[in-house]
Symmetry: C3
Subunit: 247 residues, 3 copies
């Protein structure tokens, strides 16, 4: 990990403190997310202590984003309503100076997705989450947006700082919408911490540690889901300090 | 509790009997509900012994409502299809004299929602479920519609009768779509009982008792979901008589 | 069971081998399915070892079907996007000679569904799954499409061959989207086996055995869901050989 003089141990302590801050603050997070991920994402936010709303109707999206502390824009199932809503949400959040997170799902698989992702990226989201194909596919610049690249090792990059996070469990990739829900968790952490690099790193660490703790209690991807939500709800800050792995 | 001479104990016995009647009758319930709540709502109805259908396509909604014993209209995620479908469903149900339930989610947060909710309310749904902001926001009249106001204490009001129900558990608010599913359960109870005040009270009592029993077995909001569905499926009428709390 | 000289025991061994082949091949399955079933279907495919995508946007569907090994077209919640996407998907899959599965949900309940189902059927899907009302309602010809009719006993018919499968459990009908997810599992098996009758039979047998094993661990329809996904993930081929029931 290379960041402005912050040691891994200090970062773990800071991440744990931010988890507590999210629980106390109960930030309102509006999510434009795909229909596969909506229920799970709402449940992850509730388990985290945040307050989700999920409508994708274009004529309402401005009001919902304005009433929220941060917004997630996930391009997973991109129908006509979501396409319009995504742009309105990004413009509204930018206009208000509120955090918003872009998850450019499958941006490398369809030219219309790539174009929309780049249009939203030009509005300067606070952070972007994706796998390496998605992030490299839309040529994001880590001087403007915090890049959270998830994979077997997660990497957070921003303006020369880099954190490599080694938490998580293979069952997380065997459950739909886990990655999508992470985008919403990042949004929640951005509400309580202005240092975006720290906020995103803390979100990924909390999420990965919760995944690890839950997987140890699960018999497969089915029982992983309730175990993961229970763990997010019950996670002790000491678990993050004890189990967080940064290199 | 103030209602036409019915004692709390008698109401608990009646509520328990209605739960059995729902299981025997297996009412067909059509749900226009938000995309976050669809799966959970269908599973709650199946666990209850009812037979759900969930399409929101405007050109089919008339046929599906006509083929159902009762209908739920929930305004959660209000896209173009759902907006049209909601009105057609309300008009169809009213025309057939079948029970329908309105859940005016977020009606106080957007003027277009409020207007749609009021238009549907003018078609005289059998019952309306919401929190206090939603119900006061659309100025519903408890002489025409049974009002089920949910919160830390649930209140049912109709034509001067009032029941205050003290079942439930905080985990129910930590799981998305629990309130939305309650709307569908109310619809199912309205099929088997003409006394609307009694039907709605019985639905809320059964739901709250199930939540309490399930929460006692859960480790958090994740394990609450399967425990709640199992409990609805397995709930004994004696549980309602034993655990129901009305004041 | 009557098929070209294949004994029930041999079929069980072949079915078990195909399950392994699906896990090794990790086929990409694109699903146009209803909004109630999307999350569960994606999770079933992931548990099975397949790689799901779920978008229903008409302008993207061609690219997603082209990038997949097989496609499911389920008519459950039939909005404008899905209606268009279903046709494009069927035409794309047919043009590429890739397997696709039709699930004509409620085709007997609405004339517009029936017409769409018949149009897709004329494009010759590899297999069709439905209950007896749905299959008889659209007059499918088992010389052109493998017919998987599910009920208390499942029947697979194709060109004179017939298999009757007696696995499964009543809890499967108490959980929404179980039947819909089976359509996606059939698509996955069709990728790894050219003999369509065998592929569909193996899919139904694996699914039914998993349902039985899961139900034995569940306390009701709620705990059945995680148990079922765990079981699909962990199912041993010896379980299929031991528990499969064909007559």
């Amino acid at each position: 990990m290379r960041t402005k003089g912050t040691s891994p141990d200090k970062l773990k302590t800071q991440a744990a403190a931010l988890l507590d801050k999210v629980r106390i603050t109960q930030p309102r997070i509006h999510c434009i997310t795909n229909s596969v991920a909506q229920t799970f994402t709402a449940n992850v936010l509730l388990a985290l202590g945040a307050d989700p709303s999920m409508t994708v109707a274009p004529d309402e999206i401005g009001a919902f984003v304005s009433g929220s502390d941060a917004t997630l824009i996930n391009l997973g199932t991109l129908d006509t309503d979501r396409r319009q809503a995504a742009l309105i949400a990004a413009e509204t959040a930018k206009g208000l100076g509120r955090p918003f997170v872009l998850d450019p799902v499958f941006a490398h698989k369809s030219s219309s997705r790539k174009k929309l992702a780049q249009t939203i990226l030009a509005l300067e989201p606070s952070a972007m989450r994706g796998n390496s194909d998605e992030i490299s596919g839309i040529e994001a610049d880590d001087r403007k947006v915090v890049l959270a690249e998830t994979g077997s090792i997660d990497t957070v990059r921003f303006c020369g700082s880099i954190a490599k996070l080694q938490n998580g469990h293979p069952l997380m990739a065997k459950t739909t919408a886990v990655g999508c829900a992470l985008g919403a968790v990042i949004a929640a952490f951005l509400v309580v911490e202005e240092d975006r690099f720290l906020a995103v790193t803390a979100a990924l660490m909390s999420f990965g540690v919760a995944g690890e703790v839950a997987a140890a209690k699960a018999n497969g991807p089915g029982s992983f889901v309730p175990a993961f939500l229970d763990t997010i709800h019950n996670l002790a800050t000491s678990d993050i300090e004890k189990l967080g792995r940064i290199s």
